[in-house]
Amino acid sequence: MTKPWTERYTPQKSSDIVGQALAISQLKQAITRKHPALIYGPPGNGKTSSVYAIAADLSFEVLEVNASDFRNTEGVNTLIGGSLHQASLFNKGKIILVDEIDGIAGTEDRGGVQALHKLLADTPHAVVMVANNPWNSKFSTLRKASTLIEFRPLLAEIIFSHLAKICANENITASEQVLQKLARQSQGDLRSAINDLQAIATGKQKLHIEDLNVLGERDKETSMFRALQLIFKSDDARKTLNAFENASEDYDGAFLWLDENIPLEYKGKNLSRAYNALSMADVFRGRIRRQQHWRFLVYINQFLTAGIATAQQHPTPFFVPYKKTSRILKIWMMNQKNAKRKAIAQTLKTHLHSSTKDIVKNVIPYLKIMYQHNMQLDLPLAEEHIQWLTKS
């Protein structure tokens, strides 16, 4: 098992970060001056990595808090507590990193934004806040109080050359075409590009032109892929609740994806707990179907996300190339194979006053025994059907 490449190739110093030179110099300045910074931009283009890399450059310590902890002022205080005002161990400088402030809900969490303000006012340390979209009105006062720094989507060429480096390092031969397409599809999101690369390259030494066919699929599946990663790799159940918000498929699709991939992540007791959550989600799906009580969707979602996430206390750090389910295809192929059985049942259903399904299940097994012991039956069956019953 290998580590996720996004982790293995995480930048160690700010010069490792590709394509964000301007933003990095602005951010470094704000941090050294201890001026609050609000950095923003689409996912996967180096925002959080930059903070850690700059901290490494400056030998600062990073204290990461998640926006969901900002329910109210007390929450922040218990969380960061004295360390807010304490000097860092060994007299290092300290950066307080508030990730995903988009997660602070607008009205119901007014306390959350206020708590952030209090943090900015009280702390002697540098504060960096990260947002995907800082233009939301709930952040207007925060915007005024901090330096706004934009991390732009990365250019496809930059992603391409980074992927090429990873391939070289992993001893993977990949055609330029393959990497170009990966880079373009990521739309400036380096993290997703690396994830996609690892997903198609795992267990291979060469990436061929045919792998591009899989890429078409992969393109549509990335959001489901990320949802699975969030659920399986998170140790914070609450964070997983919105996992399927951006998924390209509905819950029925999510069931199939989770079902296929749970055993790749969980073993033993955890496996059984994860399946128990999936099973409960399915019970509610059945109840919706029968009772049309759509509010049960809430329970389906929570069992599918947090329910499965909590089945494993300590997520494995390994990268897992999640697979699409093969069940549907298998059912279809087997239906083709069972055509003879069905044809026999179809011929007999009037004669036996039963459904084809019933005959396949409850009559054909006995007919086979009778024919195999040379009992001649007076049934309206074709010669090929009698042969099938006698032989198979």
Binding site: G286, K361, L377
Partner: protein, 320 residues
């Protein structure tokens, strides 16, 4: 030895008159009275497989319409005639013309109604009303709980009970005499246990055994039953005892598809096979407990395969 062609005994010995029917005495008595007074309400027959629902419906048609019963009796199966539109069209075509040779309404027999969705049942209810002057409906299902109230309230509901041991024995002994074969008493016992009161299954097993020998022993019955039951279910269970979940679930899907088994069929087999596993009795009992829980969830839920996977995963946990 060249045998002459035989009918399938389930058809050959299907009762043809009210008097032929074994068991369900009260139901038969009520229905016979409806027929005698030529006043048939819509009927809903509920009960497990092989205990006479279809047979009684056929007899109603034969008693009412005599030799013209085929023209006045429409047999449909909700699991084959998919979709309420197909059913409605067939019913419409059938009931457009008046009954032949009689003034009585025709009969529509709709089997496996519990496979219809709630919406389809609503549509069926309307169809029943639209054609109520020209046709009477006999609906048949395994579980009346799956039939919507508006339909139940429009029908006289009859609950069929599984046949008792003496009743099944009487049927089997009668067939044995007619077919000039013999069956040992403990084979008869085994036959009843294997069929759980399902007469059609017990006759099928009997005829399969008769293909092997004219003198049927308990061993013949056991051989037939295990030949007709997929052996691979035991393999799937053995895989869980080695904690190989991924192979176990793959095998499970293969078995289900190859034999056309539903989730409920599988859980029934699993629950029977548990006792053949090389495990401590207390583990077996915990397996059984889990089977019951999952069977309940299966009835409530929608994806039987997911429920079975959950069962296999919990077996692995019980053993570790």
């Amino acid at each position: 030895m060249v045998e002459k062609s035989k009918q399938l005994w389930t058809e050959k010995y299907r009762p043809q008159t009210f008097a032929d029917i074994k068991g369900q005495e009260q139901i038969v008595e009520r229905i016979a009275s409806f027929v005698k007074h030529q006043n048939l309400p819509h009927l809903l027959f509920t009960g497990s497989a092989g205990i006479g629902k279809t047979t009684l419906s056929l007899i109603i048609a034969k008693e009412l319409f005599k030799e013209r019963w085929r023209e006045n009796f429409l047999e449909l199966n909700a699991s084959d005639d998919r979709g309420i539109d197909t059913i409605r069209t067939k019913v419409k075509d059938f009931s457009r013309t008046a009954s032949i040779g009689t003034t009585l309404p025709k009969i529509v027999y709709l089997d496996e109604c519990d496979s219809l969705t709630k919406e389809a049942q609503q549509a069926l209810r309307r169809t029943m009303e639209t054609f109520s002057n020209s046709a009477r409906f006999i609906l048949s299902c395994n579980f009346s709980s799956k039939i919507i109230d508006p339909i139940q309230s429009r029908c006289a509901v009859f609950r069929f009970k599984p046949l008792e041991k003496t009743q099944v024995a009487a049927i089997i002994t009668h067939i044995c005499t007619e077919e000039k074969i013999t069956i040992e008493p403990d084979a008869l016992e085994a036959l009843y246990t294997a069929s759980e009161g399902d007469v059609r299954r017990s006759i099928n097993i009997l005829q399969s055994a008769a293909a092997i020998s004219n003198h049927i022993t308990q061993k013949h019955i056991h051989d037939i039953v295990s030949a007709a039951r997929p052996k691979e279910i035991l393999d799937v269970l053995l895989l869980t005892t080695t904690k190989d979940f991924i192979t176990a679930r793959k095998k499970l899907l293969d078995v289900m598809l190859a034999y056309g088994l539903s989730g409920l069929d599988v859980i029934k087999h699993i629950q029977q096979e548990v006792w053949n596993l090389p495990l401590a009795d207390e583990h077996k009992m915990r397996f059984i407990e889990k089977c019951g829980e999952i069977e309940f969830r299966m009835v409530e839920g929608s994806d039987e395969y997911v429920q079975l996977e959950s069962l296999l995963a919990s077996f692995i946990t019980i053993l570790s």
